[in-house]
């Protein structure tokens, strides 16, 4: 169970003169749920993109024990799911919600094989799990932001990945929808064997099953450990360079400016 599934060693990403990631060391175990948290511009998304294979980097990256570069084999790509920040899509775009979920399985099927009943039933089942089954034959562009994000999450699970990367999936959603989305992630974590990496800048809205936090600032890991320790007054004040207060009420965590 203690198998290291993601290992980063001295990962550096530069864009011109800017250093986006400055020597990141990090390893993630199978089935772990890691939150990558930090202020804007800390390099959270860049870090996720390095793991996803969207970003060129220097340093050593190992996935599933194998050294990987920027370009990936199909096999590796199949094992990594990705949920982007609010997906922009034209209102008139010709794709239905159900078809969107089905696109998750296309890579796994390969050329010249059409999805059969098994895949379709699985897609429908996932849509039920995400409470969007009633929207299956609606065009994706007409769904609300929250509904669309749930469809995209179902699409990612449809791929049956071993690692699921999420880049601020709840950004721009209203609070109730955010909460619902986080509950769905908890649900997934309980049902599927998945290693989850969740990028966010909002530490008041975190899924309960996330137990480990990696705090980033200016392209460096400034904290790595238990989530409760991460969200202490001292750590957060240091991270944001601004006095912060944390308190708990009814088992929920709140953060405020000191």
């Amino acid at each position: 169970m203690n198998e290291k599934i993601i290992e980063l060693e001295g990962i550096v990403v530069k864009k011109g003169r800017d250093i986006l990631l400055d020597g990141i060391n990090l390893s993630v175990l199978r089935n772990e749920f890691v939150g990558i948290i930090g202020p804007n511009g800390a390099g959270k998304t860049t870090l996720l993109n390095v793991i996803a294979g969207f970003e060129r980097f220097t340093g050593t990256l190992k996935l599933f024990g194998q050294k990987e570069g920027w370009t990936r084999s199909r096999e590796t790509r199949l094992r990594i799911g990705y949920v982007p920040q609010q997906l922009q899509i034209d209102k008139a775009f010709p794709i239905l919600a159900f078809e969107t979920v089905m696109t998750g399985v296309i890579g796994r099927l390969g050329f010249f094989r059409t999805p059969g009943r098994e895949e379709k039933e699985k897609a429908m089942h996932l849509m039920e799990m995400m409470h969007v089954d009633h929207l299956s034959d609606r065009p994706l562009g007409q769904l609300s932001g929250g509904e669309r994000q749930k469809v995209i999450l179902a699409r990612a699970i449809m791929q049956q990945p071993d690692i699921l990367l999420m880049d601020e999936p709840t950004a721009n959603l209203d609070i109730a929808v955010q909460k619902e989305f986080l509950n769905l992630i908890n649900e997934i974590q309980r049902h599927e064997v998945l290693t989850l990496c969740f990028v966010t800048h909002d530490f008041t809205m975190l899924p309960d099953t996330m137990r480990r936090a990696v705090l980033l600032n200016c392209g460096k890991v400034v904290f790595d450990g238990d989530i409760d320790a991460a969200l202490s007054k001292e750590t957060l004040s240091k991270l944001f360079g601004y006095p912060m207060e944390t308190f708990e009420r009814d088992g929920r965590r709140f953060v405020s400016y000191g």
Partner: protein
């Protein structure tokens, strides 16, 4: 009038023009689905100008204009592909530069070309009525390859159209398919220089797709509607050009725009939004 038209269809050049119309309409409008849904009209316009510049160079160097046009298209595609893959610069600017450079090269070539200026003008405006049987054969093969590609890889194409990055991340060979698509764009555009010409083909690379976008949420129907409106524009354009003695390429483009305008006015999608 009708009898007169029937008589006209017995002439070989007219028959060829009609066949070319169908093939051109289908080929360009299938491509237009990609151009519209992947939001890459500038790639479409750059490719059509690459083909045009290549064909003019071909005339200068006494090479088959289709071949030289295709080669320059492939070159353009191999530059454009990586540029549009990069995230650290705005591809629009690079495409703008590329597009004007190619246009410049084409006109430079036309300036140098002393003998057959008429031929070069045909590459620009197309000449439906002076097509050779080779032109038709090339058009047929290219259009057939494009259609096979779309039918065989429909599910991959759907996932790439939806989101290229997500498709690639989930194991679809997105880059391979994207490059094949760029090369096919080059082939279709250069083989259609003889029909609608290098300047006007761009209209057929956008308008049929834009028309379908007004009318359907189903991707299969999207391709069909797009092809139908492309063929409709080509055929009606040719008819209008014959009847009123107008340049054929220009009539085709005007008809394509009229079809788009009608689709836009009657779009159920717009009505849906207005009611909401």
């Amino acid at each position: 009038m009708v009898e007169h038209l029937v008589d006209v269809f017995l002439y070989l050049p007219i028959q060829r023009a009609v066949i070319a119309c169908l093939l051109c309409g289908i080929g360009c409008s299938v491509l237009s689905v990609f151009v519209v849904l992947m939001k890459m009209p500038l790639i479409g316009v750059s490719m059509s100008h690459a083909a045009f510049a290549g064909a003019v160079l071909g005339m200068l160097l006494d090479i088959n204009p289709f071949l030289s046009g295709f080669v320059v298209c492939l070159f353009a595609a191999s530059v454009l592909g990586p540029i549009s893959d990069r995230t650290d610069m705005a591809p629009e600017n690079v495409l703008g530069i590329m597009f004007s450079l190619l246009m410049g090269v084409a006109f430079l070539g036309m300036g140098i070309l002393t003998r057959t200026k008429a031929g070069a003008l045909n590459l620009m405006w197309g000449s439906m009525l002076s097509l050779s049987s080779t032109d038709i054969a090339v058009l047929t093969v290219v259009t057939a390859i494009l259609l096979c590609f779309v039918c065989l890889f429909f599910k991959e194409i759907r996932s790439i159209l939806f989101n290229r990055q997500l498709a690639g991340a989930s194991g679809v060979p997105a880059r391979l398919i994207y490059y094949v698509l760029l090369f096919l764009t080059g082939a279709v555009v250069s083989s259609n220089l003889a029909t609608v010409g290098g300047l006007l083909i761009f209209a057929l690379l956008v308008q049929p797709g834009a028309t379908a976008l007004q009318l359907t949420y189903n991707l299969k129907n999207f391709f069909i509607i797009s092809a139908a409106s492309g063929v409709g524009a080509c055929v009606s354009g040719l008819l209008v050009s014959y009847i009123f003695d107008l340049p054929s390429g220009a009539s085709v483009v005007v008809m394509a725009t009229i079809i788009f305008a009608v689709a836009y006015v009657f779009s159920p999608k717009r009505r849906f939004k207005a009611n909401k």
